[in-house]
C-alpha cells in the first residue's frame, strides 16, 4: 500500500499541494483529478521521488520511501505529463537505456522492446530519432518505458495525452488488467469518462486541497448527481462554462 500523510509542497511562497493524505491499496486504481494548477502533477512528481515534499511523508508498506528510495524506485513505473525524452535518441536506444538502468537482462529486454513497439505500431520508426516523433508516438514510448520492468506501482500522469482512439482503448483496458494483477495505480487525467470507467476511487484536488475522496458510486449517491463530469463541475468549476464560451466567441468577433 502506498500512503501520503499530510503531504504539502511549497514553491517559494505558493502552496501548490496542501496537507494531502490518502492511501492506495494493491489492485486499486486511484483517479487523481483536478483543474489545471490544482497540484496533481506536483503530487505525482513527489510520489515519483522527483520532488521532495515540504511537509509530510510518503509511505510504501508503512515505510518512508526516503529510507530506501532506490528500492522504491525499482518498484515504480512512471509516465510523466510532458513527453520529456532525449530527442536525439531513437525509441529503441531510449528503451534499451531505461531497461539497462533498471538492470533488466539484455536478451529478454530486447524482445520486450520489440514486442512493445510492435503492439504500439512503432516497429518501423523505432530506429529514428525521437525528435521526429509525434506527441502520440512519444507517449507510446513513455508508456513502454514505464512498463518494461513490470512495476508494482504505476504513476500515470495524463497517459492518454496525444494517443489515438485505438491506443486509448488499449491503455484503458490495460489499466483494468494491471489492477487485476494487484498493481497500485494512480491515474491523473482530465478525461473524466475514462477515469469513471477505470478508477475504483476518485480524489478531486482543488487549489492544492482534496475536496473529494471516494468511489465514483458513493460520490454519485452522496451528491445526488448522475455522472463524474457533473460531480467535478459541482466541486471545482465555479464559472458558468456557457457564459465563458459565449464571451470567447464575442471576443473573437471583436464585440466584447
Amino acid at each position: 500500500m502506498i500512503e501520503l500523510r499530510g503531504v504539502s509542497k511549497k514553491f517559494s511562497v505558493f502552496t501548490v499541494v496542501n496537507d494531502v493524505s490518502f492511501a492506495v491499496r494493491p489492485g486499486e486504481v486511484l483517479g487523481y483529478l483536478g483543474p489545471n494548477g490544482a497540484g496533481k502533477t506536483t503530487t505525482i512528481r513527489m510520489l515519483a521521488g522527483l520532488l521532495e515534499p515540504t511537509k509530510g511523508e510518503i509511505l510504501l508498506d508503512g515505510r518512508d520511501i526516503r529510507k530506501d528510495i532506490h528500492a522504491f524506485k525499482k518498484r515504480l513505473g512512471y509516465v510523466p505529463e510532458q513527453s520529456e525524452i532525449y530527442p536525439h535518441l531513437s525509441a529503441y536506444d531510449y528503451l534499451m537505456m531505461v531497461g539497462r538502468l533498471r538492470r533488466l537482462p539484455e536478451r529478454p529486454l530486447k524482445d520486450k522492446i520489440i514486442g512493445f513497439m510492435d503492439i504500439f505500431g512503432l516497429r518501423q520508426d523505432m530506429d529514428g530519432p525521437m525528435s521526429s516523433y509525434s506527441k502520440g508516438m512519444r507517449q507510446k514510448v513513455l508508456i513502454s518505458a514505464a512498463l518494461l520492468h513490470d512495476p508494482d506501482i504505476l504513476l500515470l500522469d495524463e497517459p492518454m495525452s496525444g494517443l489515438d482512439v485505438t491506443t486509448g482503448f488499449v491503455i484503458r483496458d490495460l489499466i483494468k488488467k494491471l489492477a487485476a494483477e494487484n498493481k497500485i495505480i494512480i491515474y491523473s487525467s482530465h478525461i473524466l469518462e475514462v477515469t469513471e470507467q477505470v478508477c475504483s476511487r476518485i480524489i478531486i484536488l482543488h487549489q492544492g486541497n482534496i475536496v473529494a475522496n471516494d468511489s465514483v458510486a458513493n460520490l454519485r449517491s452522496l451528491m445526488h448527481l448522475p455522472s463524474l463530469t457533473e460531480i467535478f463541475s459541482q466541486l471545482v468549476v465555479h464559472e458558468d462554462t456557457e457564459i465563458a464560451a459565449g464571451r470567447i466567441v464575442a471576443m473573437m468577433k471583436g464585440s466584447d
Binding site: A48, G49, L50, I69, H70, K73, L76, Y78, P80, Q82, E84, I85, Y86, P87, H88, L89, D93, M96, M97, V98, G99, R100, L101, R102, R103, L104, E106, Q124, D125, D127, G128, P129, S131, S132, A145
Partner: protein, 578 residues
C-alpha cells in the same frame, strides 16, 4: 491568378520575411549553453569589442612606426594585406563555428509549420538573419582598423577630410568583400556536400570537412598570433613577386581585395586594377556558387524537411552482435552499459555535442600543426629521441581528454533527466565507471592504436612505437581519472554551464601548467624510450596509480549523491565586505 493578388501575396511574403528575419536574428542571441539572453548578448558584445580592439591595435602597430614620419609611397598594401589575411581567417572560423545556425531547427518547424508561411520564406529569413549576425563580426573587426588606416595613411595623399572618408569607405568595402568571399566559400563547401550527398553520408563527411577546415583556419590564425615568423617569409616575398610581375601574386586571395582597396582609392597601378577585377570576379563567383548550393540543398530539404531519414543497415545485426559482446565483456553492469550507450549515442547523434567535440579536436590538430611548423628544423629527425616530436602525441591525448571533459558537461535535454532520477541505483559508482570505460575504449584506445600505426613505419621499430603508444595510453587512463576526479554526474544530464569561471580566472595558469606538463611528460617518454626496460617498471606504477584513483573515486561516489542540478558559478567575483 491576377496581378493584384500576386502582388498582394508577394508583399505579404516580404512582410513575413522581415518579421521572421528579426525573430531569427534575436534568437541567435540565445543558445542552449547560456542561461539568459542578456548573458549571451553581453558575451557577444564582449567578443565583438575584443575583435575590434585586436584588429585596430594590430593595424596601428603595423603602420604607426612605418608611416608616422615617412610617407606611404605605394607600399602600404603590404600592411593592408596582413590585416586582410587576419580578418579573413577570423571570419572563416566564425562562419564555420556558427554554420548550423543557418538551418531551421525542430522548434522552428514545430512553431512555423502550422502558420501560413512558405518554407522558402523561412529559409530566406534564416539566411538573412545569419548574414546579419555574421556581418556584425565584420563590422566589429573593421570599425577601428578602417579609421586607423585612414588617419595614418590618407595624409600622404591628401589633406582633405573627404579623402579621409574615402579611405574609410575603401577599407570597409575591401574588407567586407574579403570577409564575405570567405563566408560564401565556406558555406558553399558545406551546402554543396549537403546537396549532393545522401543525408547519412553527408552527416559523417561534413563533420570531417568541418574539422579539417577549422583546424586549418586555427592553424593559420595561431601562426599569425603566436609565431608570425613562420608566415613572414611568404609575406616578405610578395613585394618581390609583384615587382617582377609574377602571376603567383594572383593566387593569394587576400591581395585581390587589397587590389580592390587600392582601386577604390584611385590607384593607377595596372597590377592593382587587375587584382581589383579579380576580387570582383571572385566575389561574384563565390556568391554564385553559394546561391547554387543553397538552391540545391533547399530543394532537397523542401521535399524531405530537416528531419532525419530512417536508417536501415544490412549490417545492423552483425554490428549490434559484436558491439553487444564487447559491451558485455568490458562494461559489466547494466548501468555501465546504459551510460556508455547514452554517451556514444549522444556524441554520434546530437549535433551540439558533436560540434563542440569537433571544434576541440580541430583546435588540438591546429596546435599540433603549429608546433610542427614552429619546430620544423628540430623535428626533421622525427626520431623517438626528439622530445618535441614525442610531445605532439601527448598534446593530442591531452586535447582529446579536455574536449571530452567539456562535452560531457553540456546538457542534452535537461527536462528529460527525470529518467535517470527515477531509475537511480544505489551503486552510483557504476554510472561514472561506465562513462570512463566507454571513453577509454571508444576514444583513447583507438587514438593509441593510431599513434602506434603512425610511428611504427616512421621509426621502423615496432617495439619503440608500441612502448610509445602504451605510454600514451597509460597517460590517457591516468588523465581520464584525474579529469573526472570526484565527478558525480551522468554525462549530459546536469545543469552545469561549462567554462565560465575557468577560462577567465584559471586560463593562464592552466595553459602554463599544460606546457610544463607536456615538457615533463615528453622528456619522461624520451628517457623511457631510451631505456625501454624501464617501461616494465613504469606500466605497473601507472597501473597502481590508476587503481588507487579508481578506488578513491568509487569510494567518494558511495558517500555522495549524483548531481543533476549543479550550483551555478558566480557571474561576478568580488571581495568580501568587512
Amino acid at each position: 491568378m491576377g496581378f493584384a493578388s500576386r502582388s498582394e501575396g508577394a508583399s505579404e511574403e516580404i512582410a513575413q520575411l522581415g518579421i521572421l528575419t528579426r525573430h531569427f536574428f534575436t534568437r541567435l542571441f540565445r543558445n542552449d549553453l547560456v542561461d539568459f539572453e542578456d548573458q549571451m548578448k553581453a558575451r557577444l558584445v564582449a567578443v565583438l569589442a575584443i575583435l575590434a580592439v585586436i584588429m585596430g591595435w594590430s593595424s596601428q602597430l603595423l603602420i604607426f612606426f612605418k608611416y608616422e614620419l615617412s610617407p606611404d609611397v605605394g607600399i602600404s598594401w603590404q600592411e593592408k594585406n596582413y590585416v586582410f589575411i587576419l580578418m579573413m581567417i577570423i571570419f572563416g572560423i566564425v562562419t564555420l563555428l556558427e554554420f548550423d545556425m543557418l538551418f531551421p531547427d525542430r522548434r522552428d518547424f514545430a512553431n512555423l509549420t502550422p502558420l501560413p508561411v512558405r518554407l522558402r520564406t523561412v529559409f530566406a529569413a534564416k539566411l538573412a538573419s545569419f548574414i546579419a549576425f555574421i556581418g556584425l563580426f565584420s563590422v566589429a573587426m573593421n570599425s577601428i582598423s578602417s579609421v586607423v588606416f585612414s588617419i595614418f595613411l590618407s595624409q600622404w595623399r591628401s589633406n582633405s577630410l573627404l579623402f579621409g572618408l574615402r579611405y574609410v569607405f575603401a577599407h570597409l568595402i575591401g574588407a567586407f568583400a574579403a570577409c564575405f568571399c570567405v563566408f560564401f566559400a565556406c558555406m558553399f563547401v558545406n551546402l554543396f556536400l549537403m546537396a549532393i550527398l545522401p543525408s547519412v553520408l553527408q552527416r559523417r563527411i561534413s563533420v570531417l570537412v568541418r574539422f579539417v577546415l577549422i583546424a586549418i583556419f586555427l592553424f593559420l590564425l595561431m601562426s599569425f598570433l603566436v609565431d608570425p615568423g613562420s608566415l613572414s617569409g611568404v609575406l616578405r616575398s610578395l613585394p618581390r613577386l609583384k615587382d617582377h610581375g609574377s602571376p603567383l601574386i594572383f593566387r593569394v586571395p587576400s591581395i585581390w581585395f587589397v587590389g580592390l582597396y587600392e582601386f577604390l582609392l584611385g590607384t593607377t597601378d595596372p597590377d592593382f586594377i587587375a587584382l581589383a577585377r579579380m576580387a570582383a570576379l571572385m566575389f561574384v563567383l563565390s556568391v554564385g556558387v553559394f546561391g547554387l548550393a543553397c538552391a540545391l540543398s533547399y530543394f532537397k530539404h523542401y521535399s524531405k524537411t530537416l528531419e532525419t531519414e530512417k536508417k536501415g543497415s544490412r549490417f545492423r545485426f552483425l554490428r549490434e552482435a559484436i558491439a553487444g559482446l564487447a559491451q558485455k565483456a568490458l562494461l559489466m553492469t547494466p548501468e555501465e552499459r546504459a551510460v556508455g550507450a547514452f554517451f556514444s549515442k549522444t556524441i554520434r547523434t546530437s549535433p551540439k555535442h558533436r560540434n563542440v567535440l569537433v571544434n576541440g579536436l580541430a583546435f588540438g590538430a591546429a596546435l599540433v600543426m603549429l608546433s610542427i611548423m614552429a619546430n620544423r628544423r628540430n623535428i626533421q629527425a622525427l626520431a623517438p629521441v626528439n622530445p618535441l616530436f614525442l610531445a605532439q602525441s601527448i598534446l593530442i591525448v591531452l586535447v582529446l581528454l579536455a574536449a571530452i571533459r567539456v562535452v560531457v558537461d553540456i546538457p542534452a535535454a535537461l527536462e528529460s533527466n527525470w529518467v535517470f532520477c527515477v531509475t537511480e541505483a544505489a551503486e552510483r559508482r557504476r554510472y561514472v565507471s561506465g562513462l570512463k570505460t566507454t571513453i577509454l575504449l571508444q576514444w583513447l584506445l583507438p587514438l593509441s592504436i593510431l599513434l602506434f600505426l603512425v610511428h611504427a613505419p616512421l621509426w621502423k621499430n615496432v617495439a619503440t612505437a608500441g612502448f610509445h603508444a602504451g605510454f600514451c595510453l597509460a597517460l590517457s587512463a591516468l588523465g581520464l581519472e584525474a579529469l573526472f576526479f570526484r565527478y558525480r554526474k551522468i554525462p549530459f544530464a546536469s545543469t552545469y554551464v561549462p567554462g565560465k569561471l575557468q577560462l577567465q580566472i584559471r586560463g593562464v595558469p592552466y595553459l602554463l601548467g599544460i606546457i610544463a606538463l607536456l615538457a615533463v611528460l615528453a622528456n619522461l617518454d624520451k628517457a623511457l624510450l631510451g631505456h625501454q626496460g624501464l617501461f616494465w617498471a613504469f606500466f605497473p606504477a601507472a597501473a597502481t596509480l590508476w587503481i588507487i584513483l579508481r578506488i578513491a573515486n568509487a569510494r567518494f561516489l558511495d558517500s555522495h549523491p549524483l548531481i543533476y542540478e549543479d550550483e551555478p558559478e558566480p557571474a561576478m567575483i568580488g571581495f568580501p565586505e568587512n
